[in-house]
Amino acid sequence: MSWLKASFKHEEGDFSLSLALSTGRDISVLFGPSGAGKSMTLKLLCGLKRPSSEGIFTMGGRVIQEPGRWVKPRDRSIAMVFQDLALFPHMTVEENVSFAISDGDSSKCSRWLNRMGLESKAKEMPHNLSGGQRQRVALARALASSPELLLLDEPFSALDTPLRRSLRRELKELHRETGIPMIYVTHQMEDVCAMGDRVFLINNGKLSGEVDLKKLTSSDSSWHHLGWGNMVDGDLIKDGGVASFSWRWGRFYLPPSIHEEGPVSVFIPSDRISIVYPSIPLDPAFSGNKVNGRVVERYIMGRMCHMQVEIGEQLWQVEFPSTSYESLDKEEGSDITIAVRPVDISIIPKDRRNFGED
């Protein structure tokens, strides 16, 4: 059941934002590339920006905005953790947190400082704190105002990976403890997968698609919109019972069960792409589906080797076990041949082709 419902449009210069959001009391993740309109969405929800056209925004049954009515930010009870944290540099940690408390309950300040492990830093100025401590102050300050909704605008983006993971865990704990619904904005896929009960995609100012990560299969093209896998535009061709996908730089055979024809997009997961070793014959399961490219980037992370392969004008993401990489003598800039099995190619229905775009 939706606890928060927001639907409005906003135009600012050349940028146009169309918002249709429906969330519960859990943690919702708003994901999209830089400039997609994520921060603007939070500012509209928070009331720091007034939508250029009328819309509807309700929160727990309380009307925040409707035609002829617009509640000021100070009356919304929505707290926000900003990307730059926005800690007041002329106030101590204690003063920063106290500033957010409007009901005069001064015990809240010490309670939140204790909860966030900041009691020994109460008299410190923000610039004397580490990155992680500053994040905790920002969270303590936002929660001390007893908000009904907490918005987080890429709060951990500037932190190193271990600290980011630790703070993500802490944020989930805080959500369990307080029950305060949260909307978490990020452009990092790891955050999406780790935080998202519900994930909303935003692109080019259009927020529409909701993705349930638990239900996503590895061949689901939504991964492409989350920044993983490869989407290729081309044509489906059926020739004498043989189905194939043809695009400018190559041709892949598809399972014979494909009957459609015409322009389509296909999705190929990064980890379903194989490297063709010159000395080893290609497995018949690949049906000769190979294409030549050039390695433009490669790095090993854990047990996986990640590559960016330039094929024509497109960069493909390729992942495979790093153990097999040792036997592959491919430097950045060298030529490479990759192969895909027909069963690993997903045809994307037209209505899902441009998720989040017109």
């Binding site: 990307q83 007041f88 500033f99 105002s145």
Partner: protein, 221 residues
């Protein structure tokens, strides 16, 4: 306008110092309030006619003092309503003459200070349920304070040192409108260089102290 013109000396240095100090007592609070308000408005708000307002407020910096003085003289001398106020060649005219060319310095510095504050700080305070007055009082002004104070120091030195505008609209009346710069001029006219030097040393010292204060403010930003 019978009292306009340079009298043949007679004023004491103490009188000139007192008049200059009295002018500061009036002008410094006005510079603080008007300069901070205008600086905030220009830095933080978008509205129609903003460019025009900014040009008008900064005009005293670009206009020669004689031109500015002439326009003020015509404004307060020719327009019946303002003429009836009897402002010209009085202490209020001297205070106004010192204020007008000094105010842009405060406005400009305050504006820079307010512009330097990340919007997210003020937005954070707003999202915590704070009113615009509280946001200004607790966040914007404390963070821009050093810029405002630096501008105020420069404005004070400029107000103390005004010669041309004061002469045009307040005259050089000993004991009434004769400020330190006009005193120096009067003493030089009568070849009393020793007295002129004393007054000049006072103004020079104030100027140097103002610059030191500005440097101090900048160093602590």
């Amino acid at each position: 306008m019978g009292e306009v013109g340079l009298p043949p000396g007679g004023a004491t240095l103490t009188q000139a110092i007192l008049i200059s100090l009295k002018i500061l007592v009036v002008d410094v609070p006005l510079m603080l309030i008007l300069g901070t308000g205008a600086g905030w408005l220009l830095a933080k708000r978008e509205f129609r006619g903003k460019d025009l307002l900014e040009t008008f407020l900064m005009l005293p910096v670009a206009l020669p003092p004689a031109v500015l003085g002439l326009y003020l003289l015509m404004f307060f001398g020719k327009i019946p309503f303002f003429r009836s106020m009897g402002l010209l060649f009085s202490f209020p005219a001297a205070a106004l003459a010192a204020l007008i060319p000094a105010l842009p310095m405060v406005i400009s510095s305050a504006r820079t200070g307010f512009q330097a504050i990340p919007t997210s700080l003020e937005d954070a305070a707003r999202s915590m349920g704070k009113s615009e007055i509280t946001v200004f009082r607790r966040i914007s002004f404390p963070l821009a304070k050093r810029h405002v104070m630096a501008g105020l120091a420069l404005g004070t030195a400029r107000a103390l040192g005004d010669f041309g505008v004061t002469l045009m609209i307040a005259g050089n009346i000993p004991g009434r409108t004769q400020t330190l710069p006009l005193y120096i001029y009067g003493q030089v006219e009568t070849l009393e260089f020793a007295k002129a030097n004393v007054a000049a040393a006072i103004l020079a010292a104030i100027g140097i102290l103002s610059l030191r204060f500005v440097r101090m403010m900048e160093a602590n930003r």
